[in-house]
Amino acid sequence: MTAWLAVLGRELRLALRHPADALAAVLFFLLVAALFPFGVGPAPETLARLAPGALIASALLAALLPLDRLWGAEADDGSLDLLLLSGLHPALLALAKACGHWLTTGLPLLLATPIAAAMLNLPTEAWGTAMIALGLGSALLSLLGTAGAALTLGARRGGVLLPLLVLPLAIPAVIFGAAAIEAAAGIVNPRPMLLLQGALLALALPLAPLAAGAALRGE
């Protein structure tokens, strides 16, 4: 447990030393969300109709940004050997990295959600649901992305391969997340959709770290 917390603590400390990385993801999220009004036109009803899907898709794209350096940076400076020899099971190591990724990328995105939601003219009563749906969706992406980054580690052009591998797996999160936000905007109960998203997360929570651990050990 101490070793697990030590790895997570190091992730957070490194993120605090380089706040630009988290900020870049947040700005990317806001910019992508801001592109929709330009493309679709300023009609408020059309925008509000598009908002749920646009919001969740841009958040997932933004959360992908720091993933290709997640293991790459550790492998480049030799720290990966140190981590693998820490006595911590590789799957737990991957879980610590995924938690670190969510805390340093997913959480800032969550805090920026109201700004993006306002730009997309999402009804204010759906903002709370949007934050929950985005929180669950980005946590799922952190887990899938950690496994994807471990698999593409050492591959030439791993940075391109990673989204191709991870984004198809994130489709269910987009479907249920957008449906939940849409339900909340239409004053319908979004609970079933959020529960389905939670179920996806519960499935990925043990499986993705195990896959990442196996990939790291075989590297």
Partner: protein
């Protein structure tokens, strides 16, 4: 006691070494010699458990180390040819992370490699030799029976090599064993030699 039995290693399409066997007894030191590409680093990675052997086995006190890789990782200290330092963290923070994983006294380890004056400096400001000293200071944190070192003295000045020599002597006096791949003379008195020849 670390033992290698009939080890073989493939890298890519090439057999690096095969039929390699030796024993690393407590207090013993072995220098791993051989030209570039002879498989010195690969052998160290196999012994540390970072690379599965293609054939043969590594045992610790008679038990195969691949049965419980976590236990083997905890009792071994591996120093790769990279320093494994995070440039954004200070020298002290880099060592503290390792101390939280494996225990040990950070201040004593810093002093062992004369790094106390540099403790609060980010690792990215350290010179290559100072980074190497910081990586070596990791060995001084907590005792571990076998040390597997890949070119430990690369880039070190004379005074630091002498300090490292004192660390090695103390480690061996406590019954620790050392296996070091090197091209430079190491401060390891009466060390055995293990010579790797490139496979044809």
């Amino acid at each position: 006691m670390l033992q290698a039995h009939d080890l073989a290693c493939w890298r890519g399409e090439r057999l690096v070494f095969a039929g390699l066997g030796f024993t690393l007894a407590p207090g013993a030191a072995l220098q791993l010699l051989g030209p570039n590409g002879a498989g010195k680093s690969s052998l160290l990675r196999v012994l540390a458990g970072l690379l599965p052997p293609f054939d043969g086995s590594v045992t610790w006190d008679g038990e195969d180390t691949r049965i419980e890789p976590a236990a083997h990782a905890r009792r071994t200290r591996y120093l790769g040819h990279q320093d494994a330092l995070k440039p954004a963290l200070t020298a002290r923070e880099n060592l503290t992370f390792q101390a939280r994983l494996a225990g040990g006294d950070v201040d004593a380890a810093l002093a062992a490699m004369d790094l106390t004056p540099l403790a609060e400096l980010p690792a990215r400001l350290l010179s290559a030799g100072q980074k190497r000293r910081l990586a070596l200071a990791r060995l001084a944190l907590a005792p571990a029976p076998p040390w597997l070192l890949d070119e430990p003295t690369l880039g070190l000045d004379v005074a630091s090599v002498a300090r490292f020599g004192a660390m090695l002597a103390a480690h061996r006096a406590q019954g620790g064993a050392v296996l070091a791949a090197t091209h430079l003379p190491l401060p390891l008195p009466d060390a055995g030699e293990l010579r790797l020849e490139p496979a044809p």
